[in-house]
Amino acid sequence: MTTLLGPTPAPASTSPLPAPTRIRERLGERVAPYLYIAPFFVIFAIFGLFPLLFTFYIALFDWNPIGDQVFVGADNFTRLLDDPRFWNAARNTLSIWLLSTVPQLALALLLAHVLHHARLRWAGFFRMTMLVPYITSVAATTIVFAQMFDRDYGLLNWLLGLVGLGPVDFVQSGWGSHLMIAVMVTWRWFGYTTLLYLASLQAIPRETYEAAAVDGAGGWQRFRHITVPSLRPIIVFTVVTSTIGGLQIFTEPLLVSRAAPLTCGPTRECQTLTLFLYEQGFGMFQFGYAAAIGVALFVMVVAIALINYLAATRVRPEGK
């Protein structure tokens, strides 16, 4: 595997060269660019592309990792479509994704706009604090938020109690656990997204804003007519990445319920598709069925990416 660690350098050269060395070097120079880009392609082929294609193959088998592999055709897929656990996981994933993506992007848009102020003080400090959630691991985030949302000893329920609201059992209730996980995802990503938006904002010439201000455009109008349109490409990008990330939410639901981690609660209240895949694959050792879940996830990702793409291209003419 040493070839993956670094391409072999072309032989060192000094200016005046005897003829044979020269030819070898020319050849080396022609091959060199391919060697420089090869590590990524080799890694992606082995650990990315091949497994993806292999998933489709495994999904056609009743595949037990320590037993037999029996070809069953489309059986796994028909079973999957009839499986209420699958639809439950799909619903949970969609719900958590919506609850986390929409507020996250809206918040990031607002904060980026605010951070873009020319004479803002302590801008460096504010920007840095926003990246702190991003460097905090999902596991640590989940453990601290689960404690804050705890029914008996959580900070949030104590605050709710102060205003006369009864303790809410976030972990055990469907919507409560979705909300809790969405809060974790939002907390982790809103600052990072804010900085991405801010980067795009900084590319807009400041004069644009100043001219608009001189023409009497208020803060909201500047936000609506300058900020939002110029951020459209990066907004589309973050929607796509948060969708792909949202479909793969795994660690939060796994760590939320200590009693039934693989199902995120006794009645699968917050089991996501990726957690369902893990449960079937590494909990039940049904690799074929788990691979079928992977294929279903793939179809969803492609469909959502397509919808995003169509929406982005349809909106553009109206905006310009």
Binding site: A10, F40, T136, A139, S200, I234
Partner: protein, 290 residues
Amino acid sequence: MTMPRPTTPPAAGRRRRRAGGVRWWTYALLVLAAVVCLFPLYWMFVVATTDSATATRMPPEVVPGDNFLHLAELVFTTVPFLRSIANSVIVAGAIGVGHAVLCSLAGFAFAKLAFRGREVLFLIVVLTMTVPTQLAIIPQYLIIAELGWVDTLQALIVPGLASAFGIFWMRQHLATTLSDELMQAARIDGATSWQIYWRIAFPIVRPAAFVLGLFGYVTAWNDFLWPFVVLKSPDTYTVQIAIKALQNNFSVDLGLAMSGSFLATLPLLVLFVFVGRRMVAGILDGAFKG
């Protein structure tokens, strides 16, 4: 919540007050966002320092207690936590260095070298960013098993050594910072492409490669699903998996998992104090501009 308003320079300031002046609510909003970002970490520390009797009292204690050392000791005796930290440093370090070197090298080839198929190959690199490979975790595991890498650290390191995003990012940097004249001059002097990369290109983009390496480091340090799948024995656990093991441990101390979480986050927080500014600059100066 009143914040000092910046003094506006006399002449131009008055006219442009609406455009340049910063309202108090702007600061209120940003301070609120900063509190939201930092509070959970503070809370982690609070619970990690209180004994379970205090942690289960209502109203909750909001200042740190004095039980930190006891809980920290428990973390290190319940799981081989020191070993986990070392494993995490090895994995994240290797991936960070791998990113900085391999991505800048590939980025250099795509930005500055002419070769057949360059455009198509780069398009493929960009397209791989949209492929959600995590859903292929079953065959990924089978491959690792075939290689005999289950329960080893190279199962985490090798797949993460380079990334499409890193190549994209480094290409962007090299395209704008390394001038064609400099390339030409080096070529005339008989330098090979490797010499140009190593002696000219890499030193120029070293700050960007460093930031990329940091992001690779942080991502690898915090990764959960993949290590959770391939690591089997406590001796190979990374800190994230060690946290999970602490959480599984149904001991009386509620603060145990929290203490582990805090100890697993602390190294990155310390690192962040020193390099956070550069990471922020890296995003702001990133490939998404324009």
